[in-house]
Amino acid sequence: MSRPHQYIALMTSLPHLGKLFSRKEVPISQFRLKQRLAMLVPEHVALLREMVEVTAWAGVAKYNQDIEVIRRANQVIADLKDYPDLQNLVGARMETRTLIAALRRRARGQDTAGDIQSWGFGRWCSQIKANWSDPAFGLGHFMPWVSEAHRLMQQDDHIAMERLTLTEVFRQLDQFGTRHEFDFEAVGIYVLRWVIVERWSRYNDDDARKRLQSLISSALNGTDVAENIASTQVFSTDNSLNFEGVTS
């Protein structure tokens, strides 16, 4: 089967994921998804794996330093040279993580951004550093969700914060998804959306609350933080997506 036909058959064989938070169960199991993705050529499977690895918290949890993950993200972006939209998507995810990491660092009482190049990624690093005291780091006019995230963080409303973050990530995926229907980019975007929907489907509010409390406690006590949570690091946005572990 030639490439265009392969992608058409693959994309039409995948069920519609629907809107975020609209359903409790994921419409296709991990097993079935993997089965369908077997239609891809091996190089594309490898690229997809890299992309999911760098965008999912479970994939980056193995790194001890933020700078290692930043290096890995840059490597993945370079590997995606033939797919500019996927490059932009990975970059946008990393920038979102940077913003949330900055919010968390500030909420923890950090006075300045410090050496932001060692924990931040992307275009907004200098803006974040220059506007550290601004609730939205001076980005609120075109990223209103940052102000909202700041407010939720002040209120310690972690679940609402999680919903807001996921909504923003889903919006990014939707934005890139409108340009691709039957190609590798479309498959990549579908898989990234599936990861989010799958995680949300595993969510149990009570368990999530307990888990989050234990993570916060361990972070405040400084015990085993690296293993449990990267709450002050660039990858922190996904830690709360990962209460029940990540399947990707």
Binding site: H5, A9, M11, T12, S13, E181
Partner: protein, 149 residues
């Protein structure tokens, strides 16, 4: 020179069938791929997916009709250029509309899986493309009647 015009005439005579067949094959393959994928994710309604994926078959039929209408007792310098022009352009139309029809059908099948109630209306773009093919067919037939034999 005359031989060249005669060669062009034969080229034009067969172009609607050949280009129409390519368009139909390409379009049906695109639509068929979507139908096969959709069947993997559906519990029923397979017939309608396969049915619409065959819509681009009409282009080759129109091509055959155009070829017969262009057919002359003999292809010569007097009618070669006309056969070439009408045949090539109508064939190109069949090729293009066949491929594009396959693409919009794949999109229609994909979209109607998520929202089955739009299945009918999602076929409208494919029907419009079919209409353009019919325009090319009808006016090729009209012009074929004016070719000197």
């Amino acid at each position: 020179m005359n031989e060249f015009v005669v060669a062009l005439g034969w080229f034009g005579l067969y172009a609607p069938v050949a280009l129409g067949a390519i368009g139909s094959a390409w379009g049906c393959a695109l639509g068929g791929s979507a139908a096969i994928g959709a069947m993997l994710d559906s519990e029923g309604g397979y017939g309608r997916f396969i049915g619409v994926s065959l819509m681009p078959s009409s282009q080759v039929i129109y091509g055959i009709v155009i070829m017969f209408s262009l057919q002359q007792p003999s292809v010569d310098a007097a009618n070669g250029a006309a056969l070439f022009g009408i045949g090539l352009l109508s064939g190109s139309t069949m090729l293009f509309t066949g491929i594009r029809q396959g693409e919009v059908l794949a999109s229609a099948i994909h979209a109607s899986k998520a929202k089955p109630e739009i299945f009918g209306i999602s076929l409208a773009p494919a029907a419009v493309l079919e209409g353009f093919s019919v325009f090319a067919l009808v006016f090729a037939l009209v012009l074929a009647g004016t070719i000197p034999s």
